[in-house]
């Protein structure tokens, strides 16, 4: 079923919307949740919450990209769950991603004014726009989708070590970009 038709089902409050969403995007959502949480039961719980949230948000929201819309919800849900579980000292995939992102944190500048999250997203969008398509996709697949380095390496036909190097360089480029913009986190 086309995305537009599924969205129409939500608008007409037809519960078939949930079945169709699960059929078309269930594995996509589960994959994102698994990348963050690594525990299947937790991930499945997040996917169910995602359907629930989607049901509550459409209408009135009418997403331009239904897939990205779902992705954002499942990702946010997974992060919230990760944080709740992390408080109980359970180890999950997000820790690895967060530790890698330390490389992107710009050094503190003279003007100590912390940037707002929305403004920071704007800078990241600007930086992404300036990247070669493959680099941009790799960055998003790693830090938005949370995919493993070895999986990305396989997609690109290189070794995991090579991919790690490439990721390191992307993170450093982002750090440099943010520093040039005077961003303080």
């Amino acid at each position: 079923m086309e995305d537009q038709q599924i969205i129409e089902l939500y608008f007409s409050r037809d519960e078939a919307a949930l079945t169709e969403t699960a059929k078309k995007y269930g594995s996509f959502c589960l994959r994102i949740a698994m990348n963050v949480l690594t525990v299947k039961e937790d991930a499945e719980e997040c996917v169910n919450d995602t359907y629930h949230t989607t049901w509550n948000q459409i209408p009135p929201t009418k997403p331009d990209s239904f897939k990205a819309f779902l992705g954002k919800i499942v990702r946010n849900c997974s992060i919230s769950k990760y944080r709740a579980l992390h408080a109980k000292k359970r180890f999950h995939g997000l820790e690895v991603l967060l530790s890698e992102l330390n490389d992107c944190v710009p050094a503190a500048g003279d003007v100590e004014q912390e940037i707002e999250a929305k403004e920071l997203s704007g800078y990241i969008n600007e930086w992404l726009a300036g990247l070669a398509a493959e680099d941009r996709v790799l960055f998003v697949r790693r830090y938005w989708y949370g995919e493993e380095v070895r999986k990305l390496a396989k997609l690109c036909g290189c070794s995991a070590a090579q991919m790690s190097q490439r990721m390191l360089r992307l993170r450093r480029r982002l750090k440099k970009f943010l520093e040039e913009k005077g961003v303080v986190l």
Binding site: S65, A117, E134, V137, V140, C158, A161, Q162, L185
Partner: protein, 307 residues
């Protein structure tokens, strides 16, 4: 936490990038058959003309887009060798003692050096390549060191060594092989697989000139520093843009003159080489065709042990 703030900001990137990432078709590296043999041949010709016997002339000359810096040469001056394309890498096939000694092989190859039979080879205009057909050219493991750095080629009644030259890098601009890739070829899985590191002399003179560093602690530090993810590597084109293209002719000449050669020997006695440019802080490996920006950790090690 600052990294969490960054992670949250990434959550809100534009949807078009999320879509793009989900549907993007990656361009895989071409298979080895697609390697431009012309450029490889050009490289070997350059080497045979005597340009840098040791590490293949690490630094491409300013503005010279055709020069190839890919191979660790293993032939003596005037020695013409054959190229073997095998399992994702290029090898130089030779049985000249000078070349063998340089790679750490003490005697010419004989049938006694043959390990397990790996398959058959076919002859091409450029040299040898793998084939599934039965031919009278066979390729074997090198029995004294079971890794992929040295292989044995049996062509009729002749035995020769296939000496690892470099990985295929179909797109040289994107050659980002870390040192770990080179170590893998030589079977180095930890500091314990390295027997020593020493400085090698200029072409044709003594292979090793400096003190051999073989202490356990020193080798562990060397291994750690070269395996560090902080050791950034760069492809040829990128390096050219960043470094050599910004130099004047004089600076370039001076830069080249600072080259020193490091020899790394494995516990099996195999040797490979890297160029070290102490003044500018670069390391070059022909095997990975990559340039490494020396970290403080590695720089300190080199300064301390390679006096």
């Amino acid at each position: 936490m600052k990294n969490e703030k960054l992670y949250d900001a990434i959550s809100d990137i534009q949807e078009e990038y999320i879509e793009e990432a989900g549907t993007f078709q990656f361009r895989k590296k071409r298979p080895w058959q697609a390697v431009k043999w012309g450029s490889m041949a050009a490289c070997f010709c350059l080497l045979l003309l005597g340009i840098s016997y040791w590490t293949g002339g690490a630094f491409a000359k300013k503005g010279d887009n055709n020069s190839n810096t890919s191979a660790v040469p293993t032939a003596a001056p005037g020695d013409v060798w054959t190229v073997l394309a095998y399992n994702g890498s290029l090898y130089n096939v030779s049985n000249e003692l000078w070349s063998l000694n340089k790679a750490g092989i003490p005697e010419t190859i004989t049938s006694e050096d043959c390990g397990r039979l790996l398959g058959n080879l076919a002859k091409t205009e450029q040299g040898y390549e793998e084939t599934t057909e039965k031919t009278d050219i066979e390729i074997y493991e090198y029995a004294p060191a079971l890794n992929s750095a040295v292989l044995v080629v049996k062509d009729g009644e002749d035995y020769m060594a296939g000496l690892f030259s470099n990985y295929y890098q179909p797109d040289e601009a994107e050659a980002y092989s870390p040192v770990s890739e080179l170590y893998r070829v030589y079977g180095i899985e930890g500091a314990g697989n390295i027997r020593m590191v020493a400085e090698a002399g200029p072409a044709g003179v003594d292979i090793l000139t400096g003190t051999e560093v073989g202490e356990k602690k020193a080798l562990e530090d060397f291994y750690t520093a070269t395996m560090s993810t902080e050791l950034e590597c760069y492809g040829k084109e990128e390096f050219r843009e960043m470094v050599t293209d910004r130099m004047t002719e004089e600076e370039y000449t001076m830069f080249m003159e600072t080259e020193r050669i490091l020899c790394i020997e494995t516990v099996e006695g195999l040797r490979f080489y890297m160029s070290w440019y102490p003044e500018s802080g670069w390391l070059y490996s022909g095997g990975t065709m990559a340039y490494y920006k020396i970290t403080e950790e590695l720089g300190d090690w080199l300064e301390m042990y390679m006096k």
